[in-house]
């Protein structure tokens, strides 16, 4: 096969000493940037962009891709150890990663995340290598109605996520969706919901602000109040043997989620408007849906860590695809990579694979190598992250607060948003006391900004006719499946009542 010989050449390029060195440095730097709450791959790639002037373009993009990979691995670390999703792609990782860490099984969660990320990345790389042009066409056939249908599906997979109290769950979803509309309405080009006419709201409310508020401040306050400040996470000493048994357990209890995440994450990641976040959320939802022990989810299921982690790595490879083949970035990070390619005088787009084939295959080869490097570097650092958790809680807690505030500023660059983080944090604490589930609000603020504009774009296309979601060949089936999934719990809810009545 022609593709394989190209790939072999590409891997050889990536294995050149300078490139290999750049990969190792890039992955390590990326891992730590990703592990900081608030900082993600986009920061890492952005600051290192100018440095790449010092090396040839081929090596430069390999370096940036390595940072990207490292940061995707690193995102799981803050989700698991601190319970704060460092990036929107790692939200779902907190659902089960954090409970595992609180049970003293942080190393299991971290190992699972690393292995799942590796498999996700590898599966995505193989799919990428074999089907790149085909997948680019698939991405093009997704217009606004299809993306909206996909968002509906993402919501549908999450119906069961909330607590037992249905009105409170609905409240939380609606709240997240409304907060997502604050700021500016792109469709009409007008400012919207500028709360209390404070100009700071013009920039909207970012996901990261709500997430850091809810998880970094609210959840921490709740933990302090519940445990009276006496948190003890019993952690066995990290030993090589312990890691080995964790690895075995991770494989045994996380393989299912890993596969679901790898495949689903990649395909959703390929779609430019969707990207890694919906990919990881949907994978979590689907993994839970098909699981036999659904009750384990949210309480520390390795599958629940594996699915989103496999998905976000698969999706990050996936989102490289539209960037390279179409010149369209699927995420802010790939947007900056795209800028980098323009700086180096490369034109991403349909001709890139033909005109610059050596560059493209060198990059793809580096994905494979970065992925392997990231796995081992990540595993090597796990004892360090677990050790951090063994600090006395009265030291760990202020550190988490400091990192939340500093990271929140790094992500938003605005004092206004820091106040919002504090307000959300305090509000989240009280809501939590009264059993309002908040994960649905966090999900809603991630998906809302994609769902609302695509819905309105679709309706503009159809002159206001909602049938557009049902009659298009791709959107139609997805919408129908989503609606069935949403109605399913409602039907189930009715059934026990009826059987009771019969009995």
């Amino acid at each position: 096969m022609e593709v394989l010989s190209f790939l072999a050449d590409g891997i050889l390029v990536a294995l050149e000493p300078i490139n290999l060195l750049l990969i190792l440095i890039g992955v390590t730097v990326g891992l730590f940037i990703g592990a900081m709450p608030g900082l993600g791959s986009v920061n890492g790639v952005a600051i290192l962009l100018p440095i790449t002037f010092l090396v040839p373009p081929g090596s430069a993009i390999i370096f940036l891709a390595a940072i990207y990979y490292g940061a995707m691995y690193g995102g799981a670390i803050s989700s698991i150890t601190m319970g704060i999703p460092g990036a929107s792609t790692a939200v779902a990782t907190t659902f089960d990663g954090r409970p595992l860490a609180l049970q003293g099984r942080a190393s299991l969660a971290l190992v699972t995340a690393a292995l799942a990320s590796f498999v996700g990345g590898t599966v995505a790389n193989i799919l990428f290598t074999l089907f790149a042009p085909l997948l680019a066409n698939m991405a093009l056939s997704f217009g606004p109605p299809e993306i909206f249908a996909l968002m509906l599906l993402a919501f549908a997979t999450f119906v069961g996520l909330g607590g037992d109290d249905i009105p409170k769950t609905i409240f939380s979803i609606c709240l997240g969706l409304v907060l997502a509309t604050v700021g500016f309405d792109t469709i009409s080009g007008e400012p919207r919901l500028v709360l209390f006419d404070i100009q700071g709201f013009l920039r909207g409310i970012g996901f990261i602000v709500l997430a850091i508020g809810v998880y970094g401040i609210g959840e921490m306050l709740w933990t302090i109040e519940q445990t009276r400040g006496e948190v003890t996470t019993t952690n066995p000493k990290m030993t090589a043997k312990g890691m080995l048994s964790d690895t075995k357990e991770a494989v045994r209890r996380g393989w299912k989620g890993t596969w679901i995440g790898s495949i689903l994450g990649f395909f959703v990641g390929v779609l430019p408007a969707a990207g890694a976040t919906p990919g990881s959320l949907m994978s979590y939802g689907v993994a839970k849906m098909v699981s036999k022990n659904r009750d384990e989810y949210g309480k520390g299921s390795p599958d629940g860590v594996a699915a989103p982690e496999a998905a976000n790595n698969a999706a990050s490879t996936g989102s490289m695809l539209p960037m390279l083949t179409l010149g369209i970035p699927g995420s802010p990070t790939t947007a900056i990579l795209l800028g980098g390619m323009v700086i180096w005088g490369l034109t991403p787009g349909p001709r890139l694979f033909v005109d610059e084939s050596e560059f493209v295959w060198g990059l793809i080869g580096s994905f494979y190598i970065s992925n392997i490097a990231a796995l081992f570097i990540n595993l090597a650092f796990i004892p360090l992250f677990v050790w951090m958790l063994r600090m006395p809680f009265t030291i760990l807690a202020p550190l988490i607060f400091v990192l939340s505030i500093v990271g929140g500023f790094a992500a938003s660059r605005s004092l206004h948003d820091l106040w919002l983080i504090v307000i959300f944090g305090l509000a989240a604490f009280f809501l939590r006391k009264f059993d309002y589930p908040l994960a649905p609000a966090v999900l809603a603020i991630v998906l809302g900004p994609i769902a609302e504009p695509t819905m309105r774009q679709s309706l503009l296309l159809s002159s206001g006719d909602p049938m557009i979601f049902f009659t298009r060949p791709i959107a139609g089936p997805i919408t129908v499946i989503a609606i069935i999934l949403i109605l399913l719990p409602a039907i189930k809810l009715l059934r026990p009542k009826r059987s009771k009545g019969a009995a």
Binding site: I170, R192, F401, F409, F429
Partner: protein, 167 residues
């Protein structure tokens, strides 16, 4: 708890109504031939929030949710005290950023938390409160090239000195 549940629902209902009112600045209806207006999505979702609050109140009245039948206080004295001390500390932290810069605020917050809440030794407190801001400075300003807030002008000479060191 019982009283808290209904008060919170009332508060959230008020907030929903504010959001509904604010949404009406843009058209909230279905515009013929164009689909929903700019206020449609937030308005009807705020209605959803309001209805949820009504449902929560209904459950409260019927005594369906755990909180609505609990006579326990929301938190005991110890709970209130730790929440106020920690929460207040964070509020103070953010308020200080605009005055003594991010790094100064980090240092002061650490002193407050480690020494007065955590009852750690002065030795440990001061080591952390001094090293962490410096470490963060080198990480953010030096490595990541992200400028943190610098507070009022009196901190400027210090920052200028630090910049001379790192660049």
């Amino acid at each position: 708890m019982r009283q808290g549940e209904i008060s919170l629902a009332g508060l959230l209902a008020l907030f929903s109504m504010y959001l509904m009112w604010k949404s009406t600045e843009l058209p909230i209806g279905y515009i013929r031939g164009q689909g929903p207006g700019g206020g449609f999505w937030p308005f009807w979702l705020s209605v959803g929030m309001l209805l949820s609050c009504v449902a929560i109140a209904w459950n409260w009245w019927r005594g369906k949710s755990p909180a609505s039948v609990s006579d326990e206080p929301l938190m005991d004295d110890f709970g209130w005290r730790s929440v106020i001390l920690v929460g207040g500390g964070i509020v103070g932290f953010v308020a200080l950023i605009a005055i003594v810069s991010m790094y100064g605020a980090v240092g002061l917050f650490l002193v407050y938390y480690l020494r007065f809440l955590g009852r750690h030794s002065w030795m440990l407190t001061l080591t952390m409160a001094v090293t962490l801001p410096f470490a963060l400075f080198f990480f953010f300003e030096g490595a990541m090239q992200i400028s943190m807030p610098q507070g009022l002008p009196f901190t400027q000479p210090f920052f200028d000195l630090m910049y001379d060191i790192i660049y």
